[in-house]
Amino acid sequence: MATQEIPPERKNYLNAEYGIRSWLFTTDHKRIAMLYLVSITAMFFVGGFFALLIRLELLTPAGDLLLADTYNKMFSMHGQVMVFFFLIPSIPAVLGNFLIPMMVGAKDLAFPRINLLSWYIYIVGAGLYLWCIATGGVDTGWTFYTPYSSLFSNSHVIEAGLAIFIAGFSSILTGLNFVVTVHRMRAPGMTWSRLPLFVWSHYATSIIMLLGTPVIAITLVLVVLERTLNLGIFDPTRGGDPVLFQHLFWFYSHPAVYIMILPSMAVVSEIIPCFSRKRVFGYNFVAMSSIAIAVIGFLVWAHHMFVAGISLYSALVFSFLTFLVAVPSAIKVFNWTATMYKGSISFSTPMLYALGFIGLFTIGGLTGVFLATLGLDVHVHDTYFVIAHFHYVMVGGAVLGFLGGMHFWWPKITGRMYPEAWGRVAAIIVFIGFNLTFFPQFVLGYLGMPRRYWDYSHMPEWQGLNVLSTAGATILAVGYLLPMVYMLWSLRYGKVADDNPWQATGLEWTTQSPPTTFNFDETPIVTWEAYEYEKMPLPQEVTLER
């Protein structure tokens, strides 16, 4: 990244210093964001490789490509890598890290050194996890359910558990940094009601990171202790309870879904107003719905356990609360849609991703409502219906938001424009490939195909839909690789970006592109509200030439 050519008179965070040491010892939030970007992208491709093997195995009903144990490791490690080492840090640690200080008008996060520490902790965790993969991997499913993980699995559960335990601290530190920054570092005049919705959403995310992550850390430590010291907490033969693990695990891992989706909503809340040239519809409702999601999200965990032998009445309560948490998400979707009403809409790449997000997240969210419905969940629980549902939320939601955000802020981050035509093509390929991969899985799940099946040779009637799904995954892979290629290309050959190519509101666009090390020459004084698009000129017509 240090190789790009930028006119010498413009000093910025990228060319302020050179050399590997200047990156590894940096405390600049923007450089740390770039360190995270490189690391999570690498992990994404590791997880993506596992996904590819899973889809290839399922192309034919018989288990003929991988061994059963290998297949079990593939889906376990696909889930763990994608959830803990890609999705959770993706938008917060990259875009949040890069943008939050600028959006609130600060020079850096509240604790720059802790920010760097969080990256090192992430690297230690990811390194340990890669070592776990290299030495044989783990086969517990990403959920580590006991007593399989604690007493029966012969794979490297301890290493995987510790790796995720360590990576959790990086998440906690990032959340802590964001909370303190938003409270203490806002520029004069940047009141809470003037904060961009991106910041609100990240604030809600940070609260979940701070309160939820310690619980998964404790839970995984208990599994590790159970394996090493034979504690017996989850062992029914010694009075332990294997279902207790599920309560502890989902107490974090359900809110973790909101750690993934809220930052993505943050991105969408910035993109939609910008490309509609309008103020966001119902600012207060969108902001408060983030907080509502964070709070209610902590009270719904047992909806993962409706067939796990919990009592009728607790199932009733958790189902009810799950329906409640769907309401703030619905409020957001309605407000984004209303923001487009009577706007002046252009379909640039970030907007395509944002609209794709709304579509796929709506499907993901509403199928979540199906799953919250007690009677229906009994049938589709632990089938491909669930797989399709959470991929619509995590990929259709979180990953599309990440890609949209990367395109939207790419000119700010690198000072270069990505090629618009390629951007739109890739966005459409991702959308088509995604739907082709995961829509058939809804049908498969409804037909009864259980998740984590390596071999379905007794049910050959399922092959057609699985072939569609694998074909879609191939298209999706192309859609992921394209942006990798053209964005790297644009670092050197892309058009040099203006400071504010989209004519967007927000303090980050008042800085130069790329920003200087301390973001602002002097601390901005804010006298306006967020999203005053009526005061912004229309951006140049986007041209499709490269």
Binding site: Y145, F281, A326, A330, I358, T362, A372, D382, W454, L538
Partner: protein, 296 residues
């Protein structure tokens, strides 16, 4: 609702597409709309919630008089024990139009008993019983899956449920060699393990007399009252000091590791049979639970 949102996005997208320099119309929000699109979905959600809850309560409440069948999950097979003594692996034969209640446990990890055609599923958990009930209405053969990941051969832990006409079912029941009903086997075990030295059926021994106990509330030493159900009997065998019956001493040793899950099922079936003395209540032909007299 999904279609409405997609429709709105497409219509707005087309209608308000940026033509040369067209200005956006600024609208900041509308309280009425916000309330409308919060309350209306909430109302719809509550209807769906209630509907789903009613179905769930029905699915989770076995009717009285259902036929008990015991299921043990293990890596990687389903073992079925019928009351009449038949045993099957990965196959479950049931008669049509009869309420069937499965009493299930696992001898290793968590499994899940899933019959897609019946729309039912229940995790099978080591260390306790979970139950599942159904009433099959059409004869035929249906898939049976394990839907909770349980290790290497998870996708091989499959089988079939065969729903039969009453006549076919009778033929099936009379075929094969069966050495006594489940409760009779339990009774034999009850003798062999020495349970009957303390739990006497004629007089009150050092342990409670188990006649008529099943299905009734039991007064405990610490003042609590618990229902003597399958899980209670199970726990009393494996972890006897967990719940001490009022008036007795905690002297019973644990049988953890000494009885297999299937033997435990037989013991539970036997204790249950001790409470089914009045004939005509149970729909199933159980043996007459007289005092232990016959030898194996």
């Amino acid at each position: 609702m999904t279609l409405a949102i997609f429709g709105a996005i497409v219509i707005f997208g087309v209608k308000y597409r940026r033509h040369h320099g067209r200005e956006a119309h600024q609208i900041e929000g509308s309280m009425i709309l916000e309330i409308a699109w919060s309350v209306i979905p909430l109302g719809i959600f509550m209807v769906v919630f209630g509907w789903g809850a009613v179905i769930y309560f029905h699915e989770r409440t076995p009717p009285r008089g259902a036929t008990d069948i015991y299921v043990v999950g293990k890596q990687w097979m389903w073992k079925i024990q019928h009351q009449e003594g038949q045993r099957e692996i990965n196959e479950l034969h049931v008669p049509v139009d009869r309420d069937i209640k499965l009493i299930m446990t696992s001898q290793d990890v968590i499994h899940s008993f899933f019959i897609p055609a019946f729309r039912i599923k229940q995790d099978v958990i080591p260390g306790r019983y979970t139950t599942l009930w159904f009433r099959a209405t059409t004869p035929g053969t249906y898939h049976l899956f394990c839907s909770q990941f349980c290790g290497t051969d998870h996708s091989g832990m499959i089988g079939q449920v065969v729903v039969m006409n009453p006549a076919d079912y009778q033929t099936w029941m009379s075929g094969g060699t069966v050495s006594g009903s489940l409760a009779q086997n339990g009774e034999t075990l009850f003798e062999q393990l020495g349970c009957s030295t303390c739990h006497r059926l004629d007089v009150q021994g050092r342990g409670p007399n188990l006649k008529g106990v099943f299905g009734k509330p039991v007064q405990l030493q610490d003042g609590r009252t618990v229902l003597a159900d399958d899980n209670y009997v199970r726990e009393s065998v494996l972890n006897p000091t967990a719940k001490i019956v009022s008036g007795f001493q905690p002297i019973m040793p644990s049988f953890q590791g000494q009885v297999s899950e299937e033997q435990l099922n037989a013991l539970v079936a036997y204790v249950k049979s001790l409470s089914q003395a009045p004939a005509g209540v149970a729909a199933t032909p159980t043996n007459n639970p007289g005092p232990a007299a016959e030898k194996p």
